[in-house]
């Protein structure tokens, strides 16, 4: 393919790389290298990092459990109003996250549409807890998984499912042992996008789950508050967040998207 490179693409691609790279370079340039180690060892950082990683993982897990079936329905069925359902499911991508967080509050909060009755009968409360962070993350990040898996399912050859049916497989067995494995690359890509989005989630989290160190304060929240008072700390926190994301995303992307 070397000889076929359309040369105009190269400088444009270079601009693309530079546009993304420059802000990160600037961040590195401003980084308080001498005190970095002390900064990242502070409990506020370790608490936030641990919470961010686990809640993003939990949100990804929830998104997989409900997002894959949702993607399947969108890709494979012709239920009435399917395009409206798709539009609805992708709304959290275009919605300002703060609005999403407020909407979650009105739905699942103590006075919420669903949260109200649940709280009144069981005393269970989603906001101001780590589960609230997971709920906000799932709301905002799941569309990335759903859209990716849906397009993967659309591209998949459905005749494999016919083949499985002729072998006596039930619909559930077909879904589990043929459909999902055949869509594995898109599921993995979707899960990575979902996790990455959840890791960086700020607006919906702070609006729905609040902000308390060790309970609901994720990395982005910690970074935001640090920016108010201590820029060095904010940059140090950001670097930790970037390092963690790269450590996860680079090897996985190479492994799953190379072939």
């Amino acid at each position: 393919m070397r000889g076929r490179t359309p040369w105009v693409v190269v400088p444009l691609a270079a601009v693309g790389v530079a546009y993304v790279a420059l802000p990160f370079a600037a961040l590195l340039q401003r980084a308080p290298w001498t005190s970095l180690l002390d900064e990242v060892r502070r409990p506020v950082v370790t608490d936030a990092l641990q919470l961010s990683v686990t809640t993003a993982l939990a949100a990804t897990a929830f998104s997989l459990v409900i997002g894959i079936p949702l993607a399947w329905v969108l890709a494979r069925t012709s239920i009435p109003g399917r395009s409206s359902v798709r539009a609805l499911v992708t709304l959290p991508m275009v919605l300002p996250p703060v609005v999403g967080g407020a909407a979650l509050l009105f739905a699942f909060g103590r006075r919420g549409l669903l949260g109200g009755p649940v709280y009144d009968t069981t005393g269970l409360l989603l906001p101001f807890s780590a589960w609230g962070v997971v709920a906000a993350n799932t709301f905002v990040a799941m569309p990335f998984l759903v859209l990716t898996v849906e397009s993967g399912l659309r591209a998949a050859d459905t005749r494999y499912e016919d083949a499985a049916a002729t072998l006596g497989a039930s619909r559930w067995t077909i879904f589990r042992r043929v459909t999902v494995p055949n869509a594995a690359p898109s599921i993995i890509t979707g899960a990575l996008l979902c996790w990455a989005r959840a890791l960086g989630e700020f607006g919906a989290t702070v609006t729905f789950a609040g902000n308390l160190q060790g309970r609901t304060q994720t990395m982005p929240l910690a970074v935001f508050l640090a920016l108010e008072s201590d820029r060095d700390a904010a940059i140090a926190l950001s670097l930790v967040l970037i390092a963690v994301s790269l450590a996860v995303l680079v090897p996985l992307r190479d492994r799953w998207l190379a072939g």
């Binding site: 499985a164 002729t166 055949n182």
Partner: protein, 351 residues
């Protein structure tokens, strides 16, 4: 035993056929693209519901829109070999073969044990752990067949089982497939557009054109007495239509009368002429050939060691000559010739 009365409307296709296959019989559904072969197979498999008709497998009705009966694919006792074989790409050959047994409730160990026996039977012992993409076309075809047979179905369906193979392996795999098909006792239905596959593999051919059966019979019958231009062209035989003119004369559309050796079977007849039975001459032949006519060479086409010569004139046929004969006659496009065929080389049958 399968009895399928199929009525399916799908876009421009109106499938309307009555198909019966006895246990032990191999039937090939042969037809051009778009004739409805695959749709027929999918309807039998339950992958496409009938609009009308009825499918009976042994004594069980599996699809009858009239009574609202529909047995889902997974619950019909049949195996299917797909075009491109469709082996599950992330499962080993062994797991592919074990899939149907697992799906029908066998334990993993039991399914694998049985699958291994099937692989042994199909000379695939060494490929049990192989992923489909590492298998050759022939191996993949055998895995697909083993997978379809592992659940011991009463009916085996094969959709263009050889289409995915290249020409060099096709011959060998076709022979293998014939051998393996012979080991299966149930009814077998094979869909193909390749007449050679159909003739080699099937006991009986069913010719499907535009959703309807145009001819059915043994390969020998169909190839010697094609009922339609499609089959005639497929098997390389000249087919002419005409009406009886006296006891041994066939009046063609062009007004020419061909003389045949045996008494005619009816009023409306088909006349089949093998291309090799037609002789070409520069001058009007005399002697034994009872039929001779003037023609013009319309086309010349090399076909392996023979040359196919298409003739224009009162009897539109193709003759097959050796290259030496073509040279000797100095044939070229537009060359005027005399064509002749012996009465005994004309096969006539009722249209």
């Amino acid at each position: 035993m399968l009895h399928a009365v199929l009525g399916v409307h799908l876009g421009d296709l109106h499938l309307d056929i009555d198909l019966r296959i006895d246990d032990g019989e191999v039937v090939a559904l042969l037809g051009p693209n778009g004739a409805g072969k695959t749709t027929a197979l999918r309807a039998i498999a339950g992958l496409h519901p009938l609009d009308h008709g009825r499918i009976t497998l042994d004594d069980t009705v599996v699809d009858d829109p009239g009574t609202g009966t529909f047995v889902p694919t997974a619950e019909r006792s049949m195996g299917m070999v797909f075009q491109d074989h469709l082996l599950f790409p992330r499962q080993s050959a062994l797991d592919n073969v074990a899939f149907g047994l697992r799906a029908r409730g066998a334990s993993k160990a039991a399914a694998r044990h049985a699958a291994r026996a099937w692989l042994d039977r199909f000379d695939l012992t060494d490929h049990a752990g192989a992923l489909p993409r590492t298998l050759s076309g022939g191996q993949s075809q055998r895995v697909a067949l083993a997978r379809a047979l592992a659940t011991e179905p009463r009916l085996l369906l094969l959709d263009e089982p050889l289409a995915a193979l290249d020409a060099s392996t096709r011959l060998r795999v076709r022979t293998e497939l014939r051998r393996h098909l012979a080991t299966f006792a149930g009814a077998r239905l094979l869909v193909t557009h390749d007449p050679l596959d159909a003739i080699v593999l099937a006991d009986r051919l069913v010719i499907l054109e535009a959703g309807r059966v145009t001819q059915t019979g043994t390969p020998a019958l169909v190839t010697s007495r094609p009922a339609s231009r499609y089959v005639a062209e497929l098997v390389g035989i000249n087919l002419l239509g005409g009406v009886a003119d006296g006891e041994r004369g066939v009046l063609l559309e062009s007004g020419t009368v061909l003389t045949v050796a045996d008494p005619l079977p009816g009023q409306e007849v088909s006349v089949a002429i093998r291309p090799r039975a037609i002789a070409l001459h520069r001058h009007q032949p005399d002697g034994s050939p009872r039929n001779a006519w003037r023609a013009t060479v319309a086309d010349l086409e090399a076909d392996r060691d023979r040359v196919r010569v298409t003739l224009a004139g009162p009897v539109p046929v193709t003759a097959e000559l050796t290259p030496a004969a073509v040279a000797e006659l100095d044939l070229a496009h537009g060359t005027p010739v005399w064509a002749s065929v012996k009465a005994v080389d004309l096969t006539t049958y009722e249209r």
